[in-house]
């Protein structure tokens, strides 16, 4: 299953001064570039191991275009989650909506998301989704090494190297652009995309509580939009496992990220 979003196809966007959200009118939209790597990886997994690739997107009715595009590049089916009640959602409300749709679909092994979008840039939907579905999560995957017998071994990018992680399925991963080169559409894919029926699921069909979706389900409000400065503060802890765990707890306490004893 691949989650994706339609985003403005240009970095020159305006911010609505009232809501501090993106003004999406009059801009040509594209599939979030990071999500194209997610889709490609889904299609490659299908080609290698079999299965089916379902693409899901939450967005306004015109996001259907994005879903037709992913059908042309290999998705088997696509579902659009669209309802005026979903508008203005932050990542929490978005993940809630996606999670409801995924639960409704029931059968899934791997959920792949792009590492982040090019419009919101938060990178939060993947991990939030895993949390809500109660399944494991691996971020920044740069290679899927093996899928076997209910497990998946992946390589993920960390600040100064790689980690190889084995996770039981089902699982949620976010992928980085190093993972593959997304293919272009095919003629047969484009023909399928033209005729594909893309169901639209509304809040009612998802059985969603209106207070959990859209603006009213959002825990955050955008106050100001700016580019944060990047700070690198990676530190590798030494010593045995217990010692490392203890010093990590101390450091988190020091930084006031956790409290208590």
């Amino acid at each position: 299953m691949v989650c994706l979003k339609q985003v403005p196809g240009t970095p020159k966007v305006n911010i609505d001064p009232q809501t501090n959200t993106l003004v999406r009118q009059g801009i040509k939209n594209i599939v979030n570039p990071f999500d194209t790597y997610a889709l490609e990886e889904g299609v490659r997994i299908k080609e290698r191991y079999g299965g089916k690739v379902t693409a899901i997107s939450m967005g306004p009715p015109q996001a259907e275009e994005a879903l037709r595009e992913v059908i042309s590049t290999g998705a088997d089916e696509a579902i659009l989650l669209s309802d005026s009640a979903f508008a203005g959602a932050d990542t929490l409300a978005t993940s809630h909506t996606l999670a409801r749709a995924i639960n409704k679909l029931k059968q899934y092994d791997i959920i792949i998301c792009g590492r982040q979008t090019t419009d919101g840039d938060t990178g939060q939907v993947g991990p939030e989704l895993a949390e809500m579905l109660g399944i494991p999560f691996v971020a920044y995957v740069s290679k899927i090494e093996e899928i076997d017998n209910g497990y998946m071994r992946v390589k993920r990018m960390v600040e100064d190297g790689h980690e190889v992680i084995e996770t039981p399925l089902p699982t949620v991963i976010t992928v980085v652009k190093e993972i593959n080169v997304p293919r272009l559409p095919s003629l047969r894919g484009l023909a399928r995309a033209r005729s594909a029926v893309i169901p639209i699921w509304t809040a009612q069909e998802l059985g969603a509580d209106k207070n959990m979706v859209g603006l009213s389900g959002s825990a955050t409000r955008v106050i100001r939009v700016f580019f944060p400065q990047r700070v690198h503060h990676g530190e590798i802890l030494q010593g045995d496992l217990e010692g490392q765990a203890n010093s990590l707890i101390d450091k988190l306490r020091e930084a006031k990220i956790i409290s208590g004893s």
């Binding site: 272009l184 003629l187 894919g189 484009l190």
Partner: protein, 385 residues
């Protein structure tokens, strides 16, 4: 100009353009410089189903015709005609099979050509047989269970890279042109090897190589059509493929025209962009007129062929001759507009001029084709049509 493309044709054209711009453009200079076969792009074309367009639906193709092939070749050639010809040569190599192959032969080879898994090639030319194709010396001797091929083919596009070759060889030396036959020869057949890889002036991404046959035994079922039909197969095939060379030339000229307009708008001399000079405007206008005229002729011929016309030798030759002469002229003028930098390899325009030259030479030189057209004119006069 409105050429009344249907939905599928529009989709094909825009997808071919996208592949050309996203995948070919970034590497074309390097492919040209290194004379490297564009396998990566062949794979992109295969994944995008572009090899399927000239194969019927029964054999996993998309059932397009000569016109669809022209649209794809034109768009690829607009960016790099070396890549375009590598693609088109696979179509050329499969035409004899499409037209004269048995059901078994079609089932065996066409699906792989359609999927782009295997490339095809066509082998006629020999050191002593260029325009005079009847002078070929390669022989295919009938033996028990098959034919033994001996001889050398020269300048074979996709040589060494393709896996399926249509080879013209003499089964009856005494009968000359009527003694030639067409055979399917697979790469890795014992006795079949590759000779010299040519270093070319243009279309350098494409592979042009010698095929060497030394007692190469091919099974009987690899004969295409009947013994003695080799030249009929060849003439039919070339009539069908010549609009493709026209399309290659149209794409090349279009690419050069666009580059020239772009450069003329940006290049400031005497305080103004050179596009404001009447002499440059005249050149650009003539280029544009000629490119559009050769496109219109090429499309019209391709559609004539697809409409089921029986004899289109004359029309096919016209499209090829006209469009290739125009491509040579337009690319030369484009270099002229670029001036000094146009002569340098840092700019793409000199490559287009080098690439254009071959379109006047291969698949029937323009001189031979003009005499073909003249011959048809005389025939028609004699029939009082």
């Amino acid at each position: 100009m409105e050429y009344f493309l249907n939905e599928q044709q529009k989709t094909l054209k825009s997808l071919a353009r996208r592949i050309a711009e996203e995948r070919i453009l970034p590497v074309r200079a390097e492919l040209d410089e290194r004379e490297e076969f564009p396998w990566g792009i062949m794979k992109d074309l295969a994944e995008a189903d572009i090899f399927r367009i000239f194969i019927p639906e029964e054999y996993e193709g998309l059932g397009g015709g000569c016109f669809e092939l022209c649209l794809a070749v034109e768009e690829l050639s607009r960016v790099c005609s070396g890549v375009a010809v590598s693609y088109a040569a696979s179509a050329l190599g499969s035409f004899p099979l499409l037209e004269y192959g048995t059901e078994e032969q079609k089932q065996k080879y066409l699906p792989d050509i359609a999927s782009g898994k295997r490339l095809a090639a066509f082998a006629l030319t020999e050191p002593t047989a260029g325009s005079d194709a009847s002078a070929i010396k390669t022989t295919a001797e009938r033996v028990k269970g098959g034919y033994v091929i001996n001889g050398t083919k020269q300048f074979i596009t996709n040589g060494g890279e393709a896996e399926i070759y249509t080879v013209i060889a003499l089964t009856d030396k005494a009968r000359g042109a009527r003694g030639a036959s067409a055979f399917l020869v697979e790469k890795d057949t014992p006795g079949f090897s590759f000779g010299k890889k040519e270093k070319k002036m243009g279309i350098r991404a494409s592979s042009t190589r010698e095929l060497v046959f030394r007692n190469c035994l091919v099974p009987e079922e690899n004969l295409i059509g009947k013994e003695g039909m080799g030249f009929i197969v060849t003439l039919k095939l070339l009539d069908r493929s010549r609009p493709g060379i026209g399309a290659q030339a149209v794409g090349l000229a279009q690419g050069a025209l666009e580059a020239a307009v772009d450069y003329a708008r940006k290049r400031i001399q005497f305080g103004h962009p050179i596009i404001s000079l009447p002499v440059v405007q005249n050149m650009l206008a003539d280029m544009a007129i000629n490119v559009e005229a050769s496109r219109a002729l090429t499309y019209a011929v391709a559609r004539t062929i697809d409409s089921g016309a029986k004899n289109f030798t004359e029309e096919a030759a016209m499209a090829k001759v006209f469009a290739s002469d125009i491509a040579m002229k337009v690319t030369t003028d484009a270099v002229q507009i670029f001036g000094g930098v146009g002569y340098m390899r840092d700019y793409p325009i000199e490559k287009m001029m080098r690439d254009a030259k071959i379109t006047q030479i291969y698949e029937g030189s323009n001189e031979v084709l003009r005499s073909t057209i003249a011959f048809e004119l005389r025939k028609r006069k004699a029939r009082r049509e």
